[in-house]
Every structure is written in C-alpha cells, then in structure tokens.
Symmetry: C2
Subunit: 196 residues, 2 copies
C-alpha cells in the first residue's frame, strides 16, 4: 500500500506551503512580518509543526532564498536569450537589477539575511550554482579568466542593486552605471582588446 508515499507527498506539500506563505508575506509586508506564529496560522497547523520541517526560522528564509535563485536564474537566462555579445551583457545586467529592485524581499533572503547558503564552493546547491553559470555565460566571450570576471561582474551588479535600493546612490543614474559595468567587462580581457 502506498500510504507511506502519500504521507511523504503530503508532508512535502505542506513544506511547500510554508515556504510559499513565507515568501508571500515577506513580499507583501517585509520579513519582519514573517513570524513563525503567522506562518503556523497560514498553513493551519500549530507552531511546532514548522520545526519538524525546518530547524529554525533562518532555515525557512533559506528555503525562500533557494526559490529566489531559481527565479533569478530563469530571468537571467531569459534576458540572455536572443542576443549575444555586448547586448547580452547589457540585457542580463538590466534583468539582474530589475529583479533585485522589483523583488526586494526575495533578494534580501538570497543575499542580505543570514543564511548558510554558499556559492562557488564544493557542496553548493545546484540552484545557486545555476545563477552563477547564467552570469558566466554572457561574460565568457569577453575574457579568459571567466571565474574572476564573472565574480566581479556579479559583485558590481550586487553593489549597484543594494546601494540603489537603500537610497545611497542616485536611481536616476542607473543606466549610466549599467553602461559602465558592461563596458568594464567588454574591456576586461587580459590585455586590452578593442571594445566590442
């Protein structure tokens, strides 16, 4: 009899509901509104049930972050498709910033709030690695040291996103900053190449 399987599915579905509720509340009202009690209400179970799925609240945030990486990766791939070279770079950069600025709560889960998620290391979750690969793909044509340049590209986008989001740099100059970052990648290969 498949009751064990059904139980497993039910459990997975409930876990998914928890993560979805956390993401929805966070995106609507911010992460402070995501309390364990509130999530318990939302899924119509008591608090301790959540702790049978996740070690603690941070683990729930981390689960939302993983969802965020899936979405970001999809957005970056979509942006890269149908263009090449410098245009692909620009489209990806714009898509990255659009994601960070349109989905601040999700972006916070991925990059600002404390989690144990790791990148660019052995044991990195595939969802995270895929995001990095999507960036690397558009960077590759312009350099030899792909890892270095991809990391720096990513860091630049991340910095622009977070500083703009917190009002520390002028939103009005976003396009100029994107252009500068793209240009930096284009000329970043070892030894100066003619701008592409």
């Amino acid at each position: 009899m498949g009751t064990a399987e059904r139980k497993g599915r039910d459990r997975a579905a409930r876990e998914h509901r928890i993560v979805a509720a956390a993401q929805a509340i966070a995106e609507r009202e911010g992460w402070d509104a995501v309390t364990v009690r509130r999530l318990a209400d939302e899924i119509e179970y008591s608090q301790p049930v959540l702790y049978s799925h996740f070690k603690n609240r941070d683990a729930i945030v981390a689960a939302v972050a993983v969802e965020g990486f899936k979405e970001l990766t999809a957005a970056l791939r979509e942006a890269a498709s149908g263009s090449t070279g410098r245009n692909a770079l620009k489209n990806v950069a714009q898509a990255y910033l659009a994601f960070a600025l349109d989905r601040p709560a999700l972006y916070d889960a991925m990059f600002v709030l404390p989690t144990d998620l790791r990148f660019a290391e052995a044991g990195t979750r595939p969802e995270l690695r895929a995001g990095f690969e999507a960036l690397a793909a558009v960077v590759t044509p312009f350099c030899v040291e792909v890892a270095d340049v991809t990391e720096t590209f990513w860091a630049a986008l991340h910095g622009v996103a977070t500083l703009e989001r917190s009002g520390r740099i002028r939103p009005s100059a976003r396009n100029e900053r994107i252009a500068l970052v793209v240009r930096a990648i284009v000329v970043s290969g070892k030894g100066p190449r003619a701008g592409g």
Copy 2:
C-alpha cells in the same frame, strides 16, 4: 553659573558612552548581542534613559554607522595619500575592502542594517558625504562623469566586500577582482582612452 553647560557636557558624554558601548559589543559579539538592556547595564543607567537619547534601537545603530563613516573616510584618505593615478585607485580599493572585511559589524551598521541615513542627496550628513568625496577624489582623474563613475566604483567595492564576506565569491581571488575594478575605472572615461 555653568551648570547648564556642564549638564549638557555630561549628557553628551553619556550619549557617547552609549554609542561606544554599542560599537564595542557589536564588534566583539555581533549586533544581536547589542540589546537595549545590555547597553543600559553597560552605562549603568536604566533602559528608559537610552530612549531619552535615541528614538529607538535603530537610531543607536545609525549613530555607530556615522562613527564608521568617519573611520572609513580616514582610512580611504590615508590610503590615497602619497600616491596618484592608478596606484591611488588601487590603494583606496584595497583599503575599502580591508575596512569592510576587518570591521564587519561596523560595516553592517553602515550599509546592511536598516537605517534612515541617506547618501548623495540634499540633507545628507557630512560624515557620509565625506566618504563619497574620498572615493571621488581618486576617481576624478580618470573620467568626466565623476558622480556616475564614483557611484559605480563604490558599488563594485561594496558588492565585492559583501559577497566575499558572506562566502559567495572566492576570497582567494580578491586581488584579481581589485585589479579588474581598478582597470574598469581607468578605462571608463567617455570615449576609450589608452589604459594607464
């Protein structure tokens, strides 16, 4: 009689002790350990006294952040002095990253934790503007659009610092990333200039 003045001084001194205690605890044990009760113990007054100095806990974090900007600005000026051009850029970039990585709690107060501090706007506190100016100073020789390039330089450094700190990019490649950022600034002027 100067008792009013003395009272003012005493009050200012107490306020300074609060901020210093907050910074010390944060740097030793992290911001989670900085509770209002703990600060009250530290300065040997009761909790409500803190609320006569600061509107809420976030305002205390913001006060520490302002101290951080003073320190960062000093470090950047020091790094810039005695060198020019590309070397100044590199030294400043290294100093920025060293600050962010050596003083994570302070850096968090300045850039990660929620505060109302603004940059690059009317009404910005002078301590914050000074930091921006220190970056602008080393960027200026390389470009026309100083504000755009300074913001992008800063964002790149900020991104590198935060991603490296949270283990999302390889610490081993820091020098390569610094080199890329510096190179990007050097060639960032309107119209391609020969790399310096």
